[in-house]
Symmetry: D2
Subunit: 297 residues, 4 copies
C-alpha cells in the first residue's frame, strides 16, 4: 500500500491530472489500498481545504477499487475529528492516527487521548507509530491497552525499530484481528516473514507499486529466493534514490522527483520543502535508470 504522495501545482493547488494519473498507476500495480495524507503525502504541510479536496478526489477516483485510508493526525483533537468525519462522508474506509505532535505527551496522556478520540472518529482506526517526527512512540504498554478499543483495527509502525516490531508482532498474535503494517520499505520482507506483519505502507510503492506487491506476495508464499531478489532491489532503491538529497526531506523529494521524471505527476512540494533542482534531478534519473525503473510499473 503506497502512502500516496500529494501531487501539487502550487502550495495550495492540487495537480489534479497528476493525482488521477498516480492513482491509476498504483492501482494498475496491484496495491491493496491507498493511504493518503501521511508523512510521504506531506499532510502536515497542506492547508485543510486542500486536504479535504484531496480526500474527496481520491475517494471518487478510486471508486471502491481499493480501500482508502486517510491520515488524520493533528495536534488539535477537533481538527482530527473533523477530517475523520469528512473522510467518512467521502467514502474512505479507515483513518490513520499518530500521537499529537507539538506538545510532548507522556504515555498515560497518550492513552487518555486515544480513549477520548477513537470513539468519535466514525471510521476504523489504524494507529501510526512515527516517533522520529512526533517525538512520542506508542509504547508497548499503551498498545496493549489500545487493543481493547474496538474501533482500532491495526497499527502502522514507521519507527524502523525491528525489535519493537517483533514485540508488536508477539502482542498481536495474542489478539488476532489487528493488522500490523510496516512503514520502512527495507523492512517489509522481514516484517512479513518474521513479525507476522500483514503488509507495508511503503513510499516506493508510489513509484514502483508492482515491485512492492510482488515482494509482499513472495514473502507471503515463503518464496525465499524471490524475496531475496526483490528485497535486494528495494534496499538498492533506498540506498540510492533516497540518498540524493542531504536532508531529512530526501525520501519524499526523491520519490516526487522520480514520479516527475517518469511523467506521472508534478514534483512541486509544499513548504518547508522544495523540489530537487537540476543536479539532483539528474542523479535521480541516473539511479532510476540503474534500477530499471525509468518506465517500470
Amino acid at each position: 500500500m503506497p502512502p500516496l504522495v500529494t501531487p501539487l501545482r502550487e502550495r495550495d493547488r492540487l495537480d489534479v491530472a497528476g493525482l488521477e494519473h498516480l492513482i491509476e498507476h498504483v492501482l494498475a500495480g496491484g496495491v491493496a489500498g491507498l493511504f493518503v495524507l501521511g508523512t510521504t503525502g506531506e499532510a502536515a504541510s497542506l492547508g485543510y481545504r486542500l486536504r479535504y479536496e484531496l480526500v474527496e478526489r481520491v475517494c471518487k477516483q478510486v471508486a471502491g477499487r481499493a480501500p482508502v485510508l486517510v491520515g488524520i493526525t493533528d495536534t488539535a483533537f477537533v481538527e482530527s475529528v473533523r477530517l475523520a468525519h469528512h473522510a467518512a462522508g467521502a467514502g474512505a474506509q479507515a483513518v490513520v492516527l499518530s500521537s499529537p505532535y507539538y506538545h510532548t505527551v507522556a504515555q498515560p496522556e497518550l492513552w487518555e487521548y486515544l480513549r477520548h478520540i477513537v470513539p468519535e472518529l466514525g471510521l476504523p482506526v489504524f494507529l501510526y507509530n512515527m516517533p522520529s517526527l512526533t517525538k512520542v512512540p506508542f509504547a508497548l504498554d499503551t498498545l496493549r491497552r489500545a487493543l481493547d478499543l474496538p474501533e482500532v483495527v491495526g497499527i502502522k509502525d514507521s519507527s524502523g525499530d525491528m525489535g519493537y516490531l517483533h514485540q508488536v508482532g508477539r502482542l498481536l498474535r495474542e489478539r488476532p484481528g489487528w493488522a500490523l503494517l510496516v512503514g520502512p520499505e527495507e523492512l517489509l520482507a522481514d516484517a512479513v516473514l518474521l513479525a507476522g506483519a500483514h503488509g507495508g505502507v511503503n513510499g516506493g510503492a508510489n513509484l514502483a507499486p508492482r515491485l512492492y506487491v510482488e515482494l509482499y506476495e513472495a514473502a507471503v508464499r515463503r518464496d525465499l529466493a524471490r524475496v531475496a531478489e526483490l528485497h535486494a532491489r528495494v534496499v538498492r532503491l533506498v540506498g540510492t534514490l533516497y540518498a540524493v538529497g542531504q536532508h531529512g526531506s530526501a525520501v519524499i523529494k526523491g520519490i516526487k522527483c522520480a514520479l516527475s521524471i517518469r511523467g506521472i505527476c508534478d514534483d512541486f512540494m509544499a513548504e518547508p520543502f522544495h523540489r530537487f533542482r537540476e543536479p539532483e534531478r539528474e542523479q535521480v534519473r541516473r539511479h532510476l535508470a540503474d534500477l530499471g525503473l525509468l518506465d517500470a510499473r
Copy 2:
C-alpha cells in the same frame, strides 16, 4: 508579557468570562503586551475556529491598551498565512512564528521557508525559537540572514540555552531595532541584565503579572538588590509550582490550576492534556500560599 493561557470550558469552547477576567488581570498587572496562541496558550491543541474566535475576543477586549501578538506557527504554510491575516484584521500588532514542526527541516530549508512566508503575513513578525518542541532551532547563521527581512522585528527565545541567548544578544547589538524576548522566566533577569534582552514572555505572568513586570523594571534600572529578591521568588515559583506534575505538561497545568484556584478562569485543558486532579490541585494551592500568591496581582 504573558503568553496568555487559553481559558476553556470544553475542548472547543472558550471560557469567555474567564478570558475577560484573565485579560483584565494581566493588564492590571502592568504587562507590556499579550502573546496569544503560544505554547502556554495550547495553540496547537485548539481547532482553527476557536483560534480565530480567541484572537477576535482578545483584540476586542484589550482594545488597544497593549499590543497583542498572535502565534501563527503551523506545519502548513497556508494556515499560518490565513491566521496572520485574520490577526491583522482583528487588530493584532504582530505575529509570532516558529519553524514548522512536523517534518524536520534543515537550516537552508528553514531559511527558504522564512523568505517565502514572512512577506505574506501582513504584520510585523517575531521569530520564536522553541527547539525542544519543534525539533529545529533557529541557528545563529539563519538568524543572521533573517535580520535582513524587514518584516521581522524580533525573536523570542525559549530554548533555555543561555549561551545561545548571549550570542543572539551579541548579534542584535550589531543590528539595533530587533527586539529580543526571553521565554523561560528564570532567565528573565539574566537576559535583561546581561544579554541585552528587551523583555520576557513568561508563563508565570498569567498568574502574577506584577511580579514579572517589577522584576523586568528592576533589571532595567540595574537595581540588583531588588532583582535578586524578585528573581529568587520566580525561581522558587518555577521550582515548586511547575514541579507538581510529572510530565512535560506540568508547567501549563500548574499555571491553569493556579489561575483556577485564584478564581480567574477555568482550568480545563484541551487534549492531549487534562487538568490536575484534586491531589495535585491541593499541592498547587499549598505552593501558592507559600509564595504569597493566593490573591496577589
Copy 3:
C-alpha cells in the same frame, strides 16, 4: 556468539569458578566464538587489571576450541592499543572496536581515528556500531572507507536499525570477506535471512546458547518453519526476561540473574549497576520457567 557476561564476586574480583562454568556452558551449546569485554560483559565498568585477567583466563580456558574476540573500545587510544596487545599475547583471535565514547566525534574524526589505530592493534579488527551508548554511529560513508583497511574484517551492528543493517549488507556484498554480525537477538533471524549477516553476538546466548545456535543454523539452511518457531522463542525471551527491570540496565541484569538462578555463575554487577533484588529475581525465575529455560542448554 555470546557477548560473554563477566562473572564477578566483587567489583574488582572475578567469579573464577563461575567464569569457567559459563565458558563450558556456552561451548557445550555450540557457539562459534566468544566475545569478551563487550557491553554485556560490563567492560566499561571493570578496572584494567581485571580486564587483563579476564582475557587471560578466557583464552586459557577456551584453549583454541573457539575464537576469542576481545572488546578494546576505550576513550583513550593508548589503552585500546595496550589491551589489544595484551589480547594478542593471551591468544585471542580478534579485537572489537567502537568509536571512542566520551567526546562526540564527527565522522571525519572517526575515520581518522580508525586509520591511526587499526594498524597498531596487531590483531584482526571488528568494528562495533553501538550509537545508543557511544553517541556516534559508523555512518555508511565511514564504513565504506574502512573497507579499505586490510586489518578490519567485519562489523558488529548493535544499532537495532534494520534499515542501516540492510544497507551495510548491501555494502558488504560488494566487498566479500567482511563479516557482518548483528547484536540485538530479535534481529538475528532477519539479519541472516535477508541482510547477508554471518552471525549474531547475542546476549541471550550466555543463557541458552543452543537456542541461538539452532536459530542461526535454521536461518542458514532456509528452514523457515523452524526459524519461525525459534525466533518466536527469542522474541518472547526478550519481551519477558529483559523487561523485568525498569532501567537501561535491565538486559544485563536479567541475563546475570538468570545465570545465577541456573547455578552457572554469580550475578554480582560492577557499579553503576547492581544485581536484582528478590522480587525481580522471582519474576526472572518465573519467566525462565515459562520459557522452559530453567535447566536448558
Copy 4:
C-alpha cells in the same frame, strides 16, 4: 579557575615545558585554582600512565600556590578510586566526579553509585554535571540527596541549562557550605550575579586568565558596568574563537591552537581529535588579534 588543557607532544607524551609555562601563565593571571583532567583537559583521551604523571607534575609545579582539583570521572569505579588516591598522594586538594558515562544509568543507580564511591575517594569531591557528554544529568532530586554526603563539597555545572543552575542555586542556599561552579564561560556573570555561584571553571581561562578573574571579581562586587564590558568580551571570544571548527571538538581545538599561537604550549591533541590545520589556525590568529589577546594575560 581554568579546566587546564593538557599540553602534549604526542598522544602519550606530555609537553612538559609547555605544561610548566601554562601553569605559570594561569597562576600569574590570578586564578583561584586549577582543574586538571576535565573535558577541556582531554582526560578521557589520555592513557592512565600519562594521567598520573600529569597530576604529579601539576601538583609539584603549583606547589601549594593554588588548590589543584583532579577529574577522576571514569566508567570504571576502581579506576576512579585509584586515580583519586593517586591525586591525594600527589597533594591535590579535591577530586571532580561526573556520572559514569558508557552505560546509561538511571537516577536511583546514580545515587547508589555516589553513595558507594564518594566515601572511598579520600579527598573532598565536586560533582560534575555534564549531560551532553555523559548522557546522564544529576537530577535535582539526586543532588538534594547528595547534599547529605559529607565528602561532597560542591558541584560544577556544565549543562548550560540556566534554569537548572538557578534551581541548584536555590537548593544550595538552603544548605550553605557547598560551592557552585559554572562551566560555560558565557554563563559566569549570570551565575555569580544571580544564581549564587561561587566561581567558574571556564576553558577560556587557559588563554586569558585575567579576563575571567576580573569578570568574576566585578560580578562579586556588583560592578555592573564592568561586568557588562568584560562579559561582552567573553561572549565575543566564544562566538568567534570557538566557532572556527565545525565539530563538537571546536572549543578545545580553538583554545589549544590559541595557546600555541601565543607560544604557551603545544597544540597537539590526543585522538580522536587533532589540532587545527593552517587555514583554521589563521582564523584563530585573526580572532585573537581582534580580541586583543595576541599577547594578553
